[in-house]
Symmetry: C2
Subunit: 158 residues, 2 copies
Amino acid sequence: MSAAAEPAESATESLVTASRALVAIAARSLAGLEEQVTLPQYRALVVLASRSQLRPVDLADSLDVSPSTATRMCDRLVAKELVERVHSDSDRREVVLRLSADGRALVSEVTARRRRELRKVIARIPAEDQERLIEALRVFNAAAGEAPESVLALGMSL
Amino acid sequence: MSAAAEPAESATESLVTASRALVAIAARSLAGLEEQVTLPQYRALVVLASRSQLRPVDLADSLDVSPSTATRMCDRLVAKELVERVHSDSDRREVVLRLSADGRALVSEVTARRRRELRKVIARIPAEDQERLIEALRVFNAAAGEAPESVLALGMSL
DNA sequence: GGAAACTATTGCACTCATGCAATACTGAAG
DNA sequence: CTTCAGTATTGCATGAGTGCAATAGTTTCC
């Protein structure tokens, strides 16, 4: 290997570092949530936030869990008044899940917190460097492709 | 607000997008781990990987859980042969925890996977843009500061 | 030497997530 | 109308994480 002269290698290192920082920020945005919801529950909220009307079976699908698990997770979220459960009119077998105002607020709060943190970092960057960062990120984002709602993936078991 | 003309705003948007992509990659690097360890357990492994000799009480501290929880988490990790437990010579009250070869391999595998993914993204970027990305990331990383082992934070309760 | 402090562990109790099998409705197709 | 398929839920069981309190072994400090 030709030492650190390779730009690709150097870029990887820089990206690993940046990645660490960004993941840490994302994780920090989630901190404090433990009081209200568990991580699996938060995942469910995120799914519900993205697709406003969802049946339990769809939620189960999205979260890759069994329907019974989804039902019981909803039990807990409904008890916390973060989710509403209404019977479908069109098909009376079905149940429709919707975020409550509180539920929506909770998800919004997390993303707002994350945005705020990112803004703070950017504020520390000189204006002309910001321009270059924007350009570089545009290129990076194009290369990385669309990320299918990252926070979702934050699941693991999580 | 002066529309999208503000570079800071535009930078935030780009950064949010990039952040999503990077979190998704980090999460994907963790995928498949569920077979072997839970997320709390993985967090413990990461802590042990960073500080090679650790007492249960220190681990508990790092993970922000009670000592009894740490003990029992170690029970499971020892059972899986990912962690070794030895009695301290200097102070026979204490127990010293160490990653086993398997444990170290598991953590390495995750970071390697992440690096590989990041490299793939970079490979899609034209060489001269890479140079600019490196420079931009250097500035960004300076502004973001050191992230204290991100994956750790990936915990939430998790 | 004995009290006080520290370490690890275990007993007990609880919540959550999880899946598999019923069960109960409802709708659709014949 | 009867059977079949789709949907949600509940019963049952398990494993994990969690903390508090009690226990046991060690040091340390008078």
